[in-house]
Amino acid sequence: MKDELSTLQQTVLKDYKYGFVTDIETDTVPKGLNEDVIRLISAKKKEPDWMLEWRLKAYAGWLKMEEPKWPNVAYPPIDYQDIIYYAAPQQKPSLNSIDDLDPELKRTFDKLGISLEEQKRLSGVAVDVVMDSVSVATSFKKQLEEIGIIFCSMGEAIQNHPELVKKYLGSVVPMTDNYFAALNSAVFTDGSFCYIPKGVRCPMELSTYFRINAENTGQFERTLIIAEDESYVSYLEGCTAPMRDENQLHAAVVELVALEKAEIKYSTVQNWYPGDKEGHGGIYNFVTKRGICQGYRSKISWTQVETGSAITWKYPSVILKGDSSIGEFYSIALTNNYQQADTGTKMIHLGKNTKSRIVSKGISAGFSNNSYRGLVRASKWATNARNYSQCDSLLLGDRCGAHTFPYIEVKNNSSVVEHEATTSKIGEDQLFYCKQRGIDSETAVALIVNGFAREVMNQLPMEFAVEAQKLLAINLEGSVG
């Protein structure tokens, strides 16, 4: 206990710790979006024709669509012509080892607390670092290759495994699924690709650190994970971004495909720049994440800790198509100052005996608004579907808001769906209890919030759980009073 508290105190920093700009020359295309920009991106990435056609088709679809207005968030209109759609850090054409990395880039990661060497040596985690849309370092690749796992950047996958990409890209999130997914499909620059062959249990946690760097660059990541029959993979995604005055747009797409008896565990810690205390600046995080349990007894589990971004608009979903498949969603969303979060999940039950579980914890402080928006749908054919949802909100301060919009649609009579939600504040008695024992109010609040979020924290892989706990404490700093 004492250890935990002192770690908390050490890490309680007043301002955004990761706000700095790495001074690297970037290779950018002109501002704005039109067919030529898409052709240019495609050409720069040396993509085959079918990929370019796919992008152009998505772009044509995007032009016909309108920005969604239903989320419970407010922001000034985005000028899509004022965004640079491609920026790649300039570096030597190919890297033989991590030592060849641009020293400036390396220092950036050190400041973030990711030491590639150390990670490589100690923790057994393969890191595919994405900085400004291009993968700059990929480690442990060889070891993974030996057991047949393909883990590379999306760009490489398009070059080297076109048959897989062609088959699965856009199969879960169609290119014109929604406004931001269509935009992403047209202009995505890079991302991660992961393929786990039949019967393989991935021996290590795969992780990617996303980082937005060059000014005025929207980041459009595309991630695709395919787990073949009876395979298992756990994927970690962590995000931090430098401080910036202008709003930045992030519209990523993540697609997961789990085949028969496969299991995918996808964890996220998101701590992008949330804007300053007056609500200026910050990242717009409009993400489409969706997985499909394609096969019998497959399983997809989403875990997320959302503490950053000015606006979060994100609904990691699972389509439970295979019979007896399982979908899970664990989420902590913390908003402070003027942050807005509209997040939740969709569980679409199509197969028989499918199960899903939703645990969502929302914490709002300052002037922020935090919404849970979820859909549980049991179709006519999803006999014996089972869902349990729980969404709890904690309010810190009297200027913030917590909202719940659960949609439950059941179309057969053998399904059982349960939903419960509570909203409350930190009890005076709990605070009193802590203070009485010499714990100051700020630490006490951090302690209680961590307890509130424990159920979700437990789902995170070890290295993330520690980081996530620190993040909660840092983001709550100054909100107690």
Binding site: Y407, N413, T423
Partner: protein, 441 residues
């Protein structure tokens, strides 16, 4: 696209016949709103699961002249009368129009006053009516509610005086009978009434619906109830008419510390939409909201509730239960709003559903919007089917399957039935449900 020109025609007729009416400006304003908003489609978030646009496709007559109403015979009226009607204040509305010749007000004038809305605007109550009529417009911003407001004319204003007898006594029950006479024409009836429960008054209101004839009918009915400080209001709504299409809005505005107990019961119908709003606009309000929908056939019931906590220290409890059989569809949308001022709010909401057939469906959305921090709010919702273990338990003890099922369903419904406080009304409803469960088997 649906042709709504017949509505324009009816509106012009109404305005032409009552040009200098106090209500004319309210109607014009509402009609402009209606023309702007139109009939909500499925893309309207509040109407996502209920398609009403096709209901407006008929060329409905708005109301009949008074003479045409004579044809309703006494035996029909007796058949729809609620228990205890001989000792109640009964108000009859035919096609949305208040018929004083059929109604009987048994309370004395210092207990209860019933006058038509246009008259009320010329009486001492003018200020009250002006202040409160149309308060619901702020909460129901859709074309259908505006449409009702554009045709305000034939409704009544009821003033409930503070209670003078012994504490604990209620005034006589107040019964509303809404009859759609569709023997000759398709009818769109739009009753609109306002009840003002003065400070310290106690009243028990029941609304029920009936149809004569076989043509199409659509009722777009609104009741606004103003509940003042220390007033006590019980409200029951009983919907048990086959194929009746209804949009039924009940809007309670609690202006001071007061008590509201509202219950709606839906057993039969075509497409039904109930809007129940509770606006807690006084410190320390106590509000209870219950509902039961027990439906089969192709009945569609949509219960939309709103509890808007605007002042501190309010308590509200909401419980809706539904049983859907055959091709029935149920919708529940419960919204609890806690405004910034409303600290120390306690709000509970629960929605439980049983699906008995593979073709039945339920869409439920229990929603919380909270802007105050010192609150306790919770909501829960379940969807399921009959418990197999309970069925087995009963059958193992020699109870036939059919009876076991009826027993369990009745027990499920009982949570709501016990909330009907007047014994006579509760027994009447219990009988309706027992009959229904056995007939169904």
């Amino acid at each position: 696209m649906i042709d709504l020109s017949y509505i324009q025609k009816r509106f012009d007729q109404l305005q032409a016949s009552h040009p200098n009416d106090e209500l004319a400006s309210l109607r014009t304003e509402a009609f402009n709103r209606f023309t702007r908003l139109g009939i909500p489609g499925l893309r309207h978030e509040e109407w996502k699961y209920t398609n009403v646009s096709n209901l407006f496709n008929n060329e409905y007559q708005q109301a009949l002249s008074a003479s045409a109403l004579s044809g309703i015979d006494q035996s029909f009226l007796d058949s729809i009368r609620l228990p205890g009607s001989t000792d109640a204040d009964e108000l009859f509305f035919v096609n949305g129009r208040f018929i004083s010749s059929l109604s009987s007000i048994r309370s004395s004038n210092d207990e209860l006053i019933v006058i038509s809305l246009p008259e009320a605007l010329k009486s001492d109550f003018a200020a009250i009516v002006k202040q409160h009529l149309g308060h619901s417009n702020r909460y129901l911003e859709d074309g259908i509610h505006a449409l009702n407001t554009s045709f305000i004319n034939d409704g009544v204003f009821i003033y409930v005086h503070p209670h003078l007898k012994q504490p604990g006594d209620l005034n006589r029950p107040l019964y509303f009978y809404h009859i759609s006479d569709v023997r000759d024409n398709h009818i769109l009836s739009q009753p609109r009434n306002l009840i003002f429960a003065a400070g310290g008054s106690r009243i028990q209101i029941t609304e029920t619906f009936a149809t004569i004839g076989t043509m199409d009918n659509l009722s777009n009915q609104v009741l606004e109830v103003v509940v003042n400080k220390d007033a006590y209001v019980e409200y029951y709504k009983i919907q048990n008419t086959v194929n009746a299409n209804q949009i039924s809005t009940t809007h309670f505005h609690q202006t001071g510390k007061s008590y509201v107990h509202a219950l709606s019961l839906t057993l039969n119908g075509g497409t039904i939409r109930n809007n129940t709003n509770l606006i807690l606009d006084g410190e320390g309000c106590d509000s209870h909201l219950y509902g039961l929908y027990l439906i089969n056939g192709r009945t569609h019931v949509d219960n939309h509730t709103l509890v808007d906590n605007r002042q501190p220290n309010c308590y509200s409890k909401e419980l809706y239960k539904g049983i859907m059989d055959e091709y029935a569809t149920g919708v529940f949308n419960g919204k609890i709003k806690v405004e910034r001022l409303a600290q120390k709010t306690n709000a509970y909401q629960s929605n439980k559903n049983i699906l008995l057939s593979d073709h039945a469906s339920i869409n439920t959305k229990p929603q919380l919007e909270i802007f105050a921090d010192d609150v306790k709010c919770s909501h829960g919702c379940t969807v399921g089917t009959l418990d197999e273990n309970a069925m087995f338990y009963l059958q193992a003890r020699g109870i036939p399957q059919q009876n076991a099922k009826a027993l369990l369903l009745k027990a499920f419904a009982m949570d709501i039935l016990v909330q009907i406080k007047p014994d006579r009304l509760r027994n009447y409803v219990e009988q309706l449900i027992s009959d229904r469960l056995l007939i169904n088997e």
